[in-house]
Amino acid sequence: MADATISGGLPQGRGAKTASPGGPMLAADGTPLRASLARSLRRQKMRALLLIAPLLLFILVTFVMPIGDMLFRSVENHIVADTLPRTVAALRDDPSEVPGEPVFRAMAEDLQVAVEEKTHTQLGTRLNYESSGMSSLLRGTGRDVKGMGEDVAKAVTGLDDAWEEPGTWVALLADPAWVQTQAEWAAADDKSPEPAFAASAAATERLPRTVEAYQAFAHVTQADDGDSVTEEEPWNLAYVALADDLRADPGAAEAFEGDNRARLDALSAAVADGTVPAVSYRDMFVESDDAWGEPGTWSVLRTFSSRFTPGYYLNAVDLKLGPNGIEMREPKDRIYLQLFVRTLVMSLVITGTCILLGYPIAFLLANLPERTANLLMILVLLPFWTSLLVRTSAWKVLLQQQGVINDILVWLGIVGDGNRLALINNQTGTIIAMTHILLPFMILPLYSVMKGIPKSYVRAAKSLGANDWTAFWRVYFPQSVPGIGAGSILCFILAIGYYITPELVGGTKGVFISNRIAYHISDSLNWGLAAALGTILLAVVMLLYWAYDRLVGIDNVKLGG
């Protein structure tokens, strides 16, 4: 009869039929009672989950995913690998401090593409976070890269005008199948983009660099500009690549036929006798900017070429990833640790003043008769309900040099008219205003804990001979400590994440880490650093929140008393 105990809540007569003695108990529909109950429990769970699901989904999309996005952005570093794919690949094979010609050639192609797509300035901005000067370097060389190899291109076209014709290049390099589809596309004239350029097998094998350079040009021309490669003269890079290919493989012409073969033969001879000059991208880059010849530039590129980086986090704690591993930033650039410390210290001070001011009020409210306490509670709840901006504007108005508080102090003769107190745009202003804003969050939990302390304890202590102070300090105060803990953690959590009030009354000395995060999101656009700073702050808050949960429990969060 063990099963019968499960059916505790069910009315015996209706819900369950008694089966033969010793057999399983059956429900009204003849299924075993155990299975029937299990099914109903499962159904209950499903119903509960179905009711919760819409909200859970909503919060996941509107809130949890954004936070996840922030965590992702704090380590994400696609921009170098995306903007300079060839350089990153070439750098992997070249461990020297200042890399050789292949890396510079890859860099020239990448930079030319980036300039056409206007992404090199973004890359410069990103790398400038890590090493100042990168932005101007990339902008400057970005201007020069188009002109690189100009003399090679002149020499080649001087040899034979046909090299100026886009058609010559297409005839030399294109895959016949692509020529076919391109012709069909041109005939259709339906405004769709030109089919992506494809190189022939012979060209890919014998003129590899030329094909690579031409592909880059073709991609930009077709995909970004929406033009046809049959109408555009290729970049200087393609001429340099062609000359290089023929220098490396003078007999490349044999793989081609007709006009192509004749032109390549002529060009090959010109390359061999020096009519077409040999150029070095490395020299051209160094000529554009000496920084390209320095190991520092390349170590920055190398360090930040990976797709994920700890760089933002290091930056957020005043470290940086140098060529020799992690190192401290320059003393003048060290601002974040100081800001974190200031945020923590100010939050502690604000929490402390909240305890100091909140404790007497909570004590008074908890020990007054109900009616009076409810009335006085309004004085706590009205500020609690009043808009944060209203309270901040009030303080901004009151604390000004020509504001009400200074006026009263002058009128009372406490300070002279000439030296009115600076109460705003500094730490004092932030502490005064934020204590006012957070005080209700201290008073309310303290009050609810103090309400639960039996008055008889203090009376008992006094009847046993304790004086007022001993009775309070040894008996009452220890019982109110959980309230202080709850209120303090609440105030502290709220304080370290504050943005609006420090921004408006804090000046430069009274701002918090939040203000820096906001600055990086909307002004400096260094989103990665903003995300890293935010993640660190979030981790601190989560830790405190966990402590709060252990101490008070989230279920006990009380709103408005």
């Binding site: 509960a48 909200l55 996005d69 009400v404 959590i493 979030l538």
Partner: protein, 283 residues
Amino acid sequence: MALPVYASTGQRVWHYAFRVICGLIFFYLIAPILVIIPLSFNAQDFFTFTPEMLHLDPAGYSLKHYHDFFNNIDWQLPLWNSLKIAPMATLIAVALGTLAAVGLSQSHVPFKGAIMAILISPMIVPLIISAAGMYFFYSRIGLQGTYWGVVLAHAALGIPFVIITVTATLVGFDKSLTRAASSLGAGPLRTFWKVQMPLILPGVVSGALFAFITSFDEVVVVLFMGAAGQKTLPWQMFTGLREQISPTILAAAVVLIAVSIFMLAALEMIRRRNERLRGLTPA
């Protein structure tokens, strides 16, 4: 707390000193809000009391800042935006939040702790972090700078308040009432609307008030999420305070104080009604 007749002089002194201290703290709490009110009637564009005001000279007072607030498009547009965004965010938060709170109060909910933690998280995470994450994510999906982007963000911020208030009322809910309704033949929907809803209504209403005020007062998220077309009243006040502070802001502040007094009164009425009902029904 009354002073006993046998109290010593020291006790008397402390008794009154304590009251004076408490009075000063209450003054600190309430004075900034109260001072704003007369200042907003200043006839001059000053942020302090003019000599005329101190002499209670009627010439020192005027409604010009209110006039400006209610006629200037710079303030009216944000006011209307706030009034368009907050109710919609409240509606979403209350509808989804109440449903989920009912689900959470069932006796067998798997992963209850984890679900609760996720649902409460928008209240715990500092606003600047929520704002940063939402800004990054919503610009990816094209919601940044749109009305619905701001509404969804504000609804997410308001939901924890709805969950907390509604689950709190559901804790005291007598489940035999729904069983009675079912046994009398009411379907689940009918049971919810006719039996459960009227009983948890106070919790739902106070949750709605919290969600509304969360959206109505919120500035950090909207600052990042919104475009100029979604400028709300707190946003306008924030820009006003940061850039050129105009006395109209005092009028706006007093209007907002009126809103919060109304909210406080509404909540107090709900609380009183609850206490009365609790007094009538045997525990």
